[in-house]
């Protein structure tokens, strides 16, 4: 392949994975920013969104485009409802104590995983893409749907940003984030806000998953990877900072895609001992070290 | 006059725009009871936090017993003999009274541990409650336990941050007796709002206002100082 084609492919693949990652990680970041809860079950909400998308698409009659749009609406709602329920039944009772909530969300992770296995079975579940066309670039072909995913993610992120900054809901959420007690004093139903935020975070993961299933299929063990990547994104971007999260998602999504694409071009020994697995080890360590030495993230300001 | 045991020069700590401590010079003489007073928000707690190492100084210098301790972490200063009792009670609520004091005595390497701990408890009159869980003590007793932990450290400098807050009159008298018994082996630095306590105990007083030293001197001199009067009365 020509270097120009390689670059274009890397850019496209990087954008697809960054946009889906940004949506997923924003969900995690939102929950952490406002509720101070580290949701280990976030990857399972992603998985749940994906298997429900398959379920919707295979149950509903009609062309793939229609069932897909239906899934895009229905799945986040169901997943959000499950999350709100978990918040009210478990997290609220733990008073959002950080360590207890982590243990509880680990429990939730196992329950959701087992639930998906029991209900939907162990197979990879394919969902047809709502758009079926290929783009031929010099040297490689590319799925038109993947381009649509990038656009959809950008629109959704813009929508999220508008909700958070321009609406009363966003105002209430920010007020709750700053001070729970004061928000309560101003007549804000903090319990409802928390349940809503947790549902919204899970819903974002579910939307991201619905977008990705036509590319990747749904499977009950698929939650681990988005969880670890989202953690990395939220850490690099600065815990709780949405802008940092989006920037970090772009960075990590791009780097994650570009290493296997570019390394063989610039580094002939790639693949001999510098395998993708080694790249993953290094990436994981870098994220850990960022959290150790720059806990405010690469893009955040240190809090006084 | 006794030797200076602790000396601070140009000590500064700002929080954003707030000049909590702003270029304070301060001397503490061996064996005295020194009170630090000032209106709310004057920077008293920040100042002693800088001395004890709980907060790092932005500039300035602190020396203790002739040694520069400006960059020494808090726990190392404790080991040098600077003990600090918290403004808000900070005991180990889940542990027994004995364990609370033993932890302090153990830090000094006291031997035998049990005897050292019991001695500190008996000095504040809590020896009968040694097996009680500390969190179940009355508030006054918790404050006394806090002081006992300070004593069990066998400090050379004991910093007490508003120790009498919330104590009854009887408890305050007990407390005054304890503080008097500490000197002159050790030195005491006392942040206090209760002027009766200050006037009864302090040999020397420093007044802080807006992060700076407003005045320093003997109790009668401070009482007569017009600047202090205006700061306190807002005149």
């Amino acid at each position: 392949m020509q270097l120009g084609s390689i670059f274009l492919l890397a850019l496209l693949e990087g954008l697809v994975s960054a946009s889906v990652l940004a949506l997923t990680a924003c969900g995690l970041s939102l929950v952490f920013g406002i509720m101070r809860v580290v949701n280990v079950a976030h990857g399972e909400f992603f998985m749940l969104g994906a298997v429900l998308a398959w379920f919707t698409a295979s149950l509903m009659p009609g062309p793939p485009a229609l069932t897909f749009v239906a899934a895009l609406v229905i799945c986040p709602l169901i997943v959000g409802a499950v999350a709100a329920l978990a918040d009210m039944l478990v997290l609220k009772r733990l008073n959002y104590e950080p360590e207890a909530t982590i243990v509880a969300t680990i429990g939730l992770l196992y329950i959701l995983q087992q639930g998906a296995l029991t209900v939907f079975g162990p197979n990879a579940l394919p969902v047809p893409a709502p758009l079926d066309f290929r783009l031929q670039f010099p040297g490689f072909g590319y799925s038109g749907y993947k381009i649509a995913v990038i656009l959809a993610a950008v629109l959704l992120l813009l929508g999220l940003w508008l909700i958070l900054t321009r609406t009363r809901i966003g105002l209430v959420m920010r007020a709750t984030q700053i001070d729970r007690a004061t928000a309560r004093a101003f007549g804000i139903n903090v319990d409802r806000v928390y349940a809503g935020v947790f549902a919204m975070g899970a819903g974002l993961a579910a939307i991201a998953a619905v977008l990705i299933v036509p590319i990747q299929q749904a499977h009950y063990l698929m939650g681990a990877d988005p969880l670890l990547l989202s953690f990395s994104v939220v850490i690099i971007g600065g815990l709780g900072s949405l802008r940092g999260t989006v920037v970090a998602a772009l960075l990590i999504g791009m780097v994650d895609q570009m290493i296997p694409i570019f390394m063989p071009v610039v580094f002939p020994a790639y693949g001999a001992w510098f395998t993708p697995t080694l790249a993953k080890i290094i990436a994981t360590l870098v994220v850990a070290l960022v959290l150790v030495f720059r806990p405010q993230g690469l893009f955040g300001k240190r809090m006084a | 006059m006794a030797a200076v045991i602790l000396e601070a020069r140009g000590l500064t700590r700002h929080f954003g725009g707030l000049k909590a401590v702003d270029g304070v010079d301060f001397d503490l003489r061996q064996g005295e009871i020194h009170a630090l007073i000032g209106p709310n928000g004057a920077g008293k707690t920040t100042f002693v936090s800088l001395l004890s190492g709980r907060i790092e100084a932005q500039s300035g210098r602190i020396s203790f017993d002739g040694r520069d301790i400006t960059r020494l972490p808090a726990h190392a200063r404790v080991r040098l003999g600077i003990a600090y009792t918290f403004q808000i009670t900070q005991i180990y609520a889940a542990l027994s009274v004995f364990d609370n004091v033993a932890l302090a005595a153990q830090s000094r390497g006291s031997h035998p541990l049990g005897a050292a701990a019991m001695e500190a408890l008996s000095r504040v009159g809590l020896e009968a409650r040694k097996d009680q869980i500390a969190g179940t003590l009355s508030y006054g007793h918790q404050r006394l336990l806090e002081v006992a932990m300070g004593l069990a450290l066998k400090p050379r400098l004991l910093i007490l941050d508003e120790p009498t807050q919330g104590l009854s009159q009887g408890e305050i008298e007990t407390f005054n007796g304890i503080v008097k018994s500490v000197v002159p082996e050790a030195t005491v630095l006392l942040i206090e709002h209760n002027m009766d306590v200050v006037m009864e105990l302090a040999e020397w007083i420093t007044v802080l206002n807006f992060g700076q030293v407003l005045a320093t001197g003997t109790p009668p001199a401070i009482r007569a100082n017009p600047a202090v009067q205006s700061a306190y009365l807002g005149a």
């Binding site: 580290v38 478990v90 009772r93 733990l94 950080p98 360590e99 207890a100 982590i102 243990v103 509880a104 680990i106 429990g107 939730l108 196992y110 329950i111 995983q113 087992q114 639930g115 296995l117 029991t118 670890l228 953690f231 850490i235 395998t275 697995t277 080694l278 993953k280 080890i281 994981t284 360590l285 850990a288 070290l289 959290l291 150790v292 030495f293 806990p295 | 004890s52 709980r54 972490p73 808090a74 726990h75 190392a76 404790v78 003990a83 600090y84 918290f86 900070q90 005991i91 180990y92 609520a93 889940a94 542990l95 364990d99 932890l103 302090a104 153990q106 830090s107 541990l113 932990m149 450290l153």
Partner: protein, 313 residues
């Protein structure tokens, strides 16, 4: 300073485990041996989490350090089983110290994530060095190598006795540790770090020491696992093996000496019996975690200590 009742209780548990050996069916001999090895691991976890307040999600790395030190020591370098049992705790302690040096600069949630990330890197490292570790497939330790002198450790009784010996040693040392002055400092660090600092204790060194001891326990358990069960594989270094000791400790009672063993025993048999009735044992693990943090955050022995037996260490 060890309470007589406490010492008696622990010795009685050990005596019961020893006396049970001739009465147990073969299946349970292996199970209890495994439970004792896992309990050593959980005891180590408890020293960090239960006593010192360090909630780590990366202990699998310390367990795996001992596991692979022993397994690769035997299979690649011809180490003896006895040598492997010594090397394991050293490797576990070393791994914990290295991780601690960095991770202990953080606290709380950040500490959990950092340890999780380090353990994930450790897991991937095992996969990376597939030539030596055989990656996910793992290493089988030859039966001939699993012997001390002429005693074949793969036979039921010696296996049980070795696991028992390590468990007994770990339990008594744990008891001595938590009743020692240092044990009191660990608890002080858990209860109130700011206060402990102002009593002259350096939180960093105290926590690092506790984590290192915890790693030594985990490494010892890992080495024992390799020698006693003859298999060393990457799945034993996965996240799940970091959650397992947390689950055992929460169930049995964090900050109690016997809690980890009790938790391991109950959880092992709960899963074992449940798996014949249903394949949904992940559900059981998940539900147990949630119910424990919701309704019994102190675990069985922690609740017992609070209500009835204050002397329980």
């Amino acid at each position: 300073m060890i309470d007589r009742r406490a010492l008696f209780l622990h010795l009685a548990v050990l005596a019961a485990l020893l006396a049970a050996l001739p009465m147990l069916a073969a299946y349970h001999v292996t199970n209890i041996a495994k439970i004792m090895v896992l309990a050593v691991y959980a005891m180590g976890y408890n020293i960090a989490f239960g006593y010192t307040g360090l909630l780590s999600l990366g202990h699998a790395m310390f367990f795996a350090a001992g596991l692979y030190a022993a397994g690769m020591g035997i299979s690649l370098f011809g180490l003896s089983a006895a040598g492997a049992l010594v090397l394991g705790p050293v490797a576990g302690g070393l791994a914990a110290t290295l991780v601690g040096l960095l991770a202990l600069r953080t606290a709380g949630v950040a500490f959990m994530i950092v340890t999780l990330m380090f353990a994930q890197a450790g897991y991937l490292t095992i996969l990376y060095f597939v030539k030596y570790t055989r990656g996910d497939e793992g290493i089988v330790i030859a039966r001939a190598a699993r012997a001390i002198g002429s005693v074949d450790l793969s036979a039921d009784t010696p296996r049980y006795l070795l696991a028992f010996g390590i468990f007994a040693l770990a339990l008594l040392l744990n008891l001595a540790l938590v009743r020692s002055p240092f044990g009191r400092i660990m608890v002080a660090m858990r209860e109130n770090e700011a206060r402990s600092r102002m009593l002259g204790y350096n939180p960093y060194t105290v926590k690092l020491t506790a984590l290192a001891v915890s790693g030594v326990y985990a490494g010892a358990a890992g080495a024992a696992y390799a020698v006693v069960f003859g298999y060393v594989g990457a799945s034993l270094a996965s996240v799940q093996y970091s959650i397992l000791p947390l689950l055992y400790v929460l169930l049995g009672g964090a900050g109690t000496v016997l809690g980890p063993f009790l938790g391991a025993l109950l959880m092992f048999y709960l899963i074992d019996y449940a798996s014949s009735a249903t394949s949904a044992y992940l559900f059981i693990v998940g539900a147990a975690l949630i119910l424990l943090v919701l309704f019994a955050p102190k675990g069985i022995l922690g609740t017992l200590r609070e209500r009835h037996a204050r002397w329980l260490p």
